[in-house]
C-alpha cells in the first residue's frame, strides 16, 4: 500500500504551497509529505529562501498606498488650514461658526483651527513624514 508521504509534490504544487495558495485537500498532504521527504523539502526550502528574500525586498504596494494616502490627506488638511489663515489675514476678521473652521489667533496657543493649535497639526505632519517608508526599518 502506498503511503501518503510517498506521493511527491509537483513543482507547481510546491510553488502554490510556498505561497499559501495550495487548496485543501492537497495542502495538508503536501505538508505531511514535506516533513518526510528530504528531496522535496530541499527543493522547497531553496524556493522558500528566495521567496522570503523577494518578499523582504519588494514591499507590498497596499501598505505603502495606505501610508501615502494618510500623508496626502494630512497635507491637504494643513494646506486648507494655511489657506484659511491667509484668507483671514487678507479678508479681515473671521466669521464665527460654519465649516471649515476659521483659524483664530490665541495668545496662548498661536493660530488655532477647529479647536486644535496649528503647531500640533504641524508636528503631526512632521511625524507622518518621518514615518514614510523611505527605507525599511
Amino acid at each position: 500500500m502506498m503511503n501518503i508521504s510517498d506521493s511527491h509534490a509537483s513543482a507547481d504544487e510546491l510553488v502554490l504551497f510556498a505561497y499559501g495558495e495550495l487548496p485543501p485537500p492537497r495542502a495538508p498532504e503536501v505538508e505531511v509529505h514535506l516533513a518526510a521527504c528530504g528531496a522535496c523539502r530541499a527543493q522547497f526550502v531553496e524556493m522558500e529562501r528566495v521567496r522570503v528574500l523577494a518578499d523582504w525586498t519588494l514591499e507590498p504596494r497596499r501598505r505603502r498606498t495606505v501610508r501615502w494616502t494618510t500623508v496626502v490627506l494630512a497635507a491637504a488638511a494643513l494646506l486648507a488650514a494655511i489657506l484659511l489663515v491667509g484668507r483671514r489675514r487678507s479678508d479681515g476678521p473671521p466669521q464665527a461658526g460654519g465649516w471649515p473652521p476659521q483659524p483664530e489667533w490665541s495668545a496662548n496657543a498661536g493660530y488655532v483651527a477647529g479647536g486644535r493649535p496649528m503647531i500640533v497639526i504641524d508636528s503631526q505632519l512632521t511625524r507622518l513624514e518621518q514615518e514614510l517608508p523611505h527605507g525599511r526599518p
Partner: protein, 161 residues
C-alpha cells in the same frame, strides 16, 4: 476567550506540522514552536475573541519561519555571533542591504514575462490565479514563470550567502 496556553495547546499539533514540513527537523521544530509561543504570549493583550485566532497563530508561525531563514542566511555568512541578541550586527545589516540590492538587481534582469509575475505576486499581492486572469495566461504557465524567476534570483544571489 480561552487562555493563551489553551489556544497554543489546541493548535499545537497543526502548528508543529506546519513548521516540521518546512524545517524537517524535530529539535528545530521545537525551538521554532517556542518562538511562536513567546510571540503569542507577548501579543496576548492584543488578542481578542473577535479575531481569527487560528489565522493569527499561523501567520505568527509563518513569520517565525521567515525570520529563521533570514537569520540562517546571516549566520552562514558571519557565524552565530552575528545573529545573537535582538539587534543585528553592523556587518549583518550591511550584508542584508547588499542582499536586497542583489535581489532587486536580479529581478530587474528577469525576462519581462517573469518579472511581471514576480511583481504582481510580491508587490501587488495578487494570487497566482488572479495573475493568470489578469495576464491572460494559463495558471500552469504563470507558476512555471514564477519558478523560473525564483531559480534565477536564487542563482544571482548565491555569492552573497
Amino acid at each position: 476567550m480561552p487562555s493563551v496556553g489553551q489556544l497554543l495547546d489546541e493548535h499545537a499539533a497543526a502548528l508543529r506540522s506546519f513548521l516540521r514540513a518546512r524545517c524537517g527537523d524535530a529539535d528545530l521544530t521545537q525551538d521554532l514552536m517556542q518562538e511562536v509561543a513567546l510571540r503569542v504570549v507577548q501579543a496576548a493583550g492584543r488578542l481578542d475573541s473577535g479575531r481569527n485566532v487560528r489565522g493569527y497563530l499561523f501567520r505568527t508561525a509563518a513569520n517565525v519561519w521567515r525570520d529563521f531563514l533570514r537569520r540562517e542566511m546571516v549566520r552562514r555568512r558571519f557565524g552565530e555571533a552575528a545573529v545573537e541578541g535582538h539587534a543585528p550586527s553592523a556587518d549583518a545589516m550591511v550584508f542584508e542591504e547588499d542582499l536586497k540590492a542583489a535581489v532587486r538587481q536580479a529581478i530587474s534582469e528577469l525576462p519581462n514575462a517573469q518579472r511581471e509575475v514576480v511583481e504582481l505576486r510580491h508587490h501587488a499581492g495578487l494570487t497566482f490565479r488572479e495573475i493568470a486572469e489578469r495576464l491572460g495566461r494559463p495558471l500552469g504557465t504563470v507558476l512555471g514563470q514564477m519558478r523560473a524567476a525564483l531559480r534565477k534570483i536564487g542563482t544571482a544571489i548565491h555569492e552573497h550567502r
